[in-house]
Amino acid sequence: ESHVHSSFIYRRLRNHERKEIQREILSILGLPHRPRPFSPGKQASSAPLFMLDLYNVMANEEEHDMLGYTLTQAYRTAPLTTQSPPLASLHDTNFLNDADMVMSFVNLVERDKDFSHQRRHYKEFRFDLTQIPRGEAVTAAEFRIYKDRSNNRFGNETLKISIYQIIKENSNRDADLFLLDTQRVPAYEVGWLVFDITVTSNHWVINPQNNLGLQLCVETSDGRSVNVKSVGLVGRHGPQSKQPFLVAFFKASEVLLRSVR
């Protein structure tokens, strides 16, 4: 559709021209090589959909030439992959004013162990934060997980959902954990839950060897540990569009200098 502008694409590029242009554009984008995502067709997954929502809001505003439109505004107005509004009230979004890059991370590990040594239900998630482009510093990070309707037995009960950073794994007892964020959610609610994990993400970027992942636990109001799946939290066996993911916001800490050719 936008091809009408083009005097450039009306002819087929010769191979060497294509390579030259590819090299030039990659240089402008600051990429050492062309990325090769391991599973193409992942565009229907939750993280790309979330990012596309954010992109569309930003692109529309840019088209209308709204100067000064920030990521914060895009973030506040984007539908963000869900038909219903997020369950959790969004955290302070001031950090977005400074962000010049947003990145979503796919969940690499999700352990489906139902019980810890102390018969506590939990799920684990892991994200690789070593792939962040050079010169970018984390300003905020969120863990997003989708909650469907709970098992009927929970009725109108309020559930306490907690997210922990795994500090140390132990072979004969439960892992050492650090509580990051907690939310209280009615069992019947449906939508995305958002947990603030900014501090932990920063720690993992600086010390990748300490990235042992996140642990998520659910308790009833009387403190009883319950199965994560039974309360409707969607894991890796759920639909692609509802998979949990991590989203981080960055600010460039250094100016990208292009080499002279």
């Binding site: 936008s2 091809h3 502008h5 083009s6 005097s7 450039f8 694409i9 009306y10 002819r11 590029l13 294509r18 242009i21 590819q22 554009i25 402008i28 984008l29 062309r34 990325p35 090769r36 995502p37 391991f38 599973s39 193409p40 992942k42 565009q43 993280a47 790309p48 990012m51 596309l52 954010l54 992109y55 569309n56 930003m58 692109a59 840019e62 010049d100 890059m101 947003v102 990145m103 979503s104 991370f105 796919v106 690789d128 792939q131 482009p133």
Partner: protein, 139 residues
């Protein structure tokens, strides 16, 4: 495929001549285009035509534009020029062998946002400044 070899060669010859006029290149400056004043030219970069649709999610491409042409004196009324460019134009007229004309280059640039996968299928949304030429002028 039905064309004879000769026809094909003729076609290639004429299309490459046509192509050369469309593409900015060093040789352009030695041809009749030398007379053309500094202005903004259309240039659409299509990520799809570059075969990158598997990793760039959006946009499909963007109108990058480029600046090309000579900086004559007096400059076009609509064309921005730095004070130095005007001085340099005068000095060039005095000593054309020693001092080149000012350069035709972007004076205003716009940003675009690009959404793409990395090698690990993580998704990056980044705003790239200075990607689109908004106006050209003499520097």
């Amino acid at each position: 495929a039905a064309n004879t070899k000769r026809k094909k060669q003729d076609k290639n010859k004429s299309s490459s001549q046509q192509d050369a006029s469309k593409m900015p290149s060093i040789t352009d400056h030695n041809t009749s285009e030398q007379k053309q004043a500094c202005k903004k030219h259309e240039l659409y970069v299509s990520f799809r035509d570059l075969g990158w649709q598997d990793w760039i999610i959006a946009p499909e491409g963007y109108a990058a534009f480029y600046c090309d042409g000579e900086c004559y004196f007096p400059l076009n009324a609509h064309m921005n020029a730095t004070n130095h460019a005007i001085v340099q134009t005068l000095v060039h007229l005095i000593s054309p062998e020693l001092v080149p004309r000012p350069c035709c280059a972007p004076t205003k640039l716009n940003a675009i946002s690009v959404l793409y996968f990395d090698d690990s299928s993580n998704v990056i949304l980044k705003k790239y400044r200075n990607m689109v030429v908004r106006s050209c002028g003499c520097h």
